[in-house]
Symmetry: C2
Subunit: 240 residues, 2 copies
DNA sequence: GTAAAACTGTGACGGCGGTCACCAAATCAC
DNA sequence: GTGATTTGGTGACCGCCGTCACAGTTTTAC
């Protein structure tokens, strides 16, 4: 697949900076960041860090998305959240000096800036606005986690959880020439196995529930593009 | 019930300060804190803040423990975690300016220091060590939440989850004159209903599973005091 | 291109645990 | 104390969904 993948070399010139959770720092902090960061490009499926490892530092995700997951000793695993560009990963571990909480795997070809543990802690202490950004990222992590707990603990059924997930994705819909204005299209890059891990169920059940949604004409699935045809019906399943 | 409940008036003289997550601040910060805090005493069952409310400020829990929970529109609710003395509550809301994520209810008669939103934000910006403590508290929240996600999403059965919870509580056992050294006693102040909400199941199932543990001689229950008689058996149920 | 691997769809089966119902026990209120 | 309320124990029922099995489809690798 031919990607128009462009490396962001200079954080000061990064055009996305202001929309991002972590990167919108003061000029001084950015200049410093420029010196302590190490930029890398990762293919799809690369592992940035592993649950349980001693923290080596943090990663600022510049482009691409990544999956944060945790695994039981039996090999069963669950997705904690999907990280978007502009997020700092490995923060909990870096702040508290404890092992990484999650395994981070890129879902797409990605660029990330690595900052070593020592540099990051100094960076945090020197620039007050970094502390604020760190707090924002940590609150974001908490909110995602609480959402996941609500999904796992308060939902009554798998159809409800799946509907909730689809509706959440639908908050940022695709737009393309020729789309019907009353339909919402989304791009789903997770496999059904991964969706199952996200909502805490089995792959087979995801497949079955999805088939149910399609049969009833609530959604249309064409490859990775899903189109929501009857949003009200999906919303009707959701109680929370 | 006669409590030997003593109010902590002066944070500078608080003897617990150093062991606590938030309170171990610099002398200057503590003096400032002294001026912006408003100390209150709450009975058991008091609600400090409600999920969905606009944030008014944060609470520093001085004595007593509190239950953080979130509720679905159907009235089903789940416990996110139990907060211990020294924690700051309402932090996520205060940092991001969004509604409280959880309802906070005291489990015991408690003392808490309230700091208004505005004062807290200024406090945070003025004293660098406050930022660090805030980060520690937020990472603690994240870790608890991830633990809860693992419990809800990766456990196979209710017996496993309950065993895990009991073993977690057993990390801080009771000690009293005459206890047998190979037995671990814990004090359980949650009702079975609350335990059910903690591990995402129904009250009846908790009762049944607990009965099973007792019948097999793994634990002994006498009022709020539970004694673990066969730790290995409980550990055998846990896979994660 | 072709083969291998990964992903998806679906049937059959059975058990865990949710729900309802009801009573016993403990605790609270006064 | 005595009654009211909350909490705990247990039986019966049954449906959701996890698991196993296998076939069909799509993507990857070369």
């Amino acid at each position: 697949m031919a990607h128009n993948f462009r490396i962001i070399e200079d954080c000061l010139k990064c055009s996305f900076r202001e929309q991002r959770l972590f990167c919108d720092l003061s000029r001084e902090a950015l200049i410093r960041l420029q010196n302590i960061k190490a930029t890398s490009i990762y293919p799809k499926g690369a592992l940035l860090c592993l649950e349980g490892q001693a923290p080596r530092g943090v990663f600022v995700l510049c482009t691409g998305r990544a999956k944060l997951s945790t695994t039981s000793s039996e090999g069963k695993s669950i997705i904690l959240r999907i990280a978007e560009p502009g997020e700092v990963l490995g923060l909990t571990a870096a702040v508290s000096g404890t092992p990484y909480e999650a395994t981070v795997e890129t879902l797409e070809p990605s660029q990330a800036n690595f900052i070593s543990q020592g540099d990051f802690v100094r960076f945090l202490q020197e620039y007050p606005d970094v502390g604020l950004r760190v707090a924002k990222q940590l609150t974001h992590n908490c909110k995602c986690a609480y959402g996941e707990i609500r999904s796992l603990g308060l939902s009554n059924s798998v159809p409800e959880k799946l509907a909730k997930l689809i509706l959440q994705w639908a908050e940022r819909p695709l737009d393309f020439p020729g789309r019907r204005p009353h339909e919402t299209a989304i791009r789903v890059t997770l496999t059904q196995e991964e969706i199952a891990q996200f909502i805490g169920t089995s792959r087979e059940t995801v497949s079955r529930v999805l088939t149910g949604f399609r049969r009833r004409g609530w959604i249309r699935v064409k490859g990775a593009t899903w189109t929501i045809l009857n949003r009200a019906a999906l919303e009707g399943l959701v109680t929370t």
